[in-house]
Symmetry: C3
Subunit: 206 residues, 3 copies
């Protein structure tokens, strides 16, 4: 089983958990949970595969959808024991981002596109599932939460993978570096408030 | 003319009516009506065709767009006679769902994908047009309306089609069963409040 | 360099400026600016290329993304000098629409589709980038702003291109006519309140 496949399974599972947790706020039935979970889980990879004109990964291998549906059902029956869904969503989303970005980078490398496209596919695979989840569920997208780095962490992770590859190291190491950098930066943002300077307009804002 | 084509025409026409009715709340001009109607009418099928890598149905056969535009113009000039647009939207949307789900199932069967993908394509074709309509027009998506089954009805309809096919019956019968099951369940939800148990969190919600 | 390519570069650059200006309201960091700018800049053309099953333009030619990122960084460091971001967004968006519509028309003509599809690709290329920008950033979509023509201007521009071509004039002239008609109508709507009659429901609205 290839690296990209393992990473795709992990990100599908974890993003599905976050999707189901967001769905739990809307008091949906179990099929509604599965719907939001699947959208979140495969959304980023679907955008990636459609743009790269590869076959869409979960059409080729439907077990991804089974994994996402299982995750949604698990959340449906257990989410009420969580003390804070918001905290669980934040941290699971960070883990999912950290596996989805290298999955996107690996997939883009496998079709041999230019390096800016590799960066973009890492970011898109990481960010679009969560973005669709939040847009569909009427939440403020995590991706664009005021002042917090999100795309930045994904881009840094994808960049780390390219640097490791440029140094002549093997693909596996590059994807691990990508995951570690993404998670450490995103986790640091959540735990310690790490951030880049943000744009500030002059008051009064027009 | 194939079954899928007939169903595609019907769902395009009826979803276009719902799109134009939602547009009528935003006081758009007639071209705005046509835009929202077309997005709603072909959105689900476009997602289906792009993911399955078939040619997009309305690019091959532009008369679909003409049908959707006609429906939008009809609504532009007549919607003011409706007593309750909301009720009209709910019921037209239920009919559209009931023809779009078998259209998605039939299209997926015609390209020979695995059965979980057939289910998903039924659900996606049925749900994504309305989802785009509601997201673009800033409405709470019908698909995710609190407690009400929507995806559930689509999934049950798609499942009914697969069961009928497994019993060795012809495609036409399977697609009719799909439409009937979808409409009866969705209509029952609207008229009698049928629903599955929904997720409930413990108060206080965090 | 072909006409479509020039128009694509221009629309990518100007839509990226509008995306970054909208991002500036959410106080994102510089990578967040680049993300929203790229989504806005390439969103419409990506939808066009995926539906027409051409290769996606910025995957073939990654310099588009570099242009969009540069525009985003420029806005990040200079937007605070603007007196009214809203006004700048409106007018830049009008210019971007006026170059994106002919880019869409030209791309559709180059793959030889039926004329209704040419009109739709003009409108889609012009409208979807801004639509994604506004949906993701939780703004009321400009495309659907109450009473204001937007899709109407795009459609009129695309129609003008087809009329000029039908008269036997060369492609370049048709695309220029498209840009001029789109910009004059959209600019007139912004500056003088030009509009078509809009749908009005009877009070009380239900």
């Amino acid at each position: 089983m290839s690296w990209v496949l393992v990473l795709d399974y992990a990100s599908v599972f974890i993003f599905a958990l976050t999707g189901a947790l967001v769905a739990s706020r809307s008091q949906l039935d179990i099929v509604g949970f599965v719907f939001v979970a699947c959208l979140t889980a495969v959304g980023g990879g679907t955008v990636r595969d459609v743009i790269l004109d590869r076959g869409v990964f979960w059409v080729t291998e439907p077990s991804f959808v089974v994994v996402a549906s299982g995750a949604a059902m698990f959340v449906f029956f257990t989410a009420h024991v969580l003390e804070s869904r918001q905290k669980a969503i934040f941290w699971l989303d960070a883990v999912a981002l950290a596996v989805a970005v290298p999955a996107g980078v690996g997939a883009a490398l496998s079709v041999g596109v230019a390096w800016p496209i590799v960066l973009i596919m890492g970011v898109a695979t990481g960010c679009f599932g969560g973005l669709m989840r939040d847009v569909v569920c009427n939440e403020v997208p995590l991706v664009l939460k005021q002042g917090e780095p999100y795309v930045t962490c994904a881009l840094a992770g994808a960049g780390a993978a390219l640097i490791v590859l440029t140094l002549g190291e093997p693909l596996g190491l590059a994807l691990i570096a990508c995951a570690v950098v993404t998670f450490v930066l995103r986790g640091g943002a959540l735990a310690f408030g790490w951030r880049l300077p943000v744009y500030k307009s002059r008051p009064p804002r027009v």
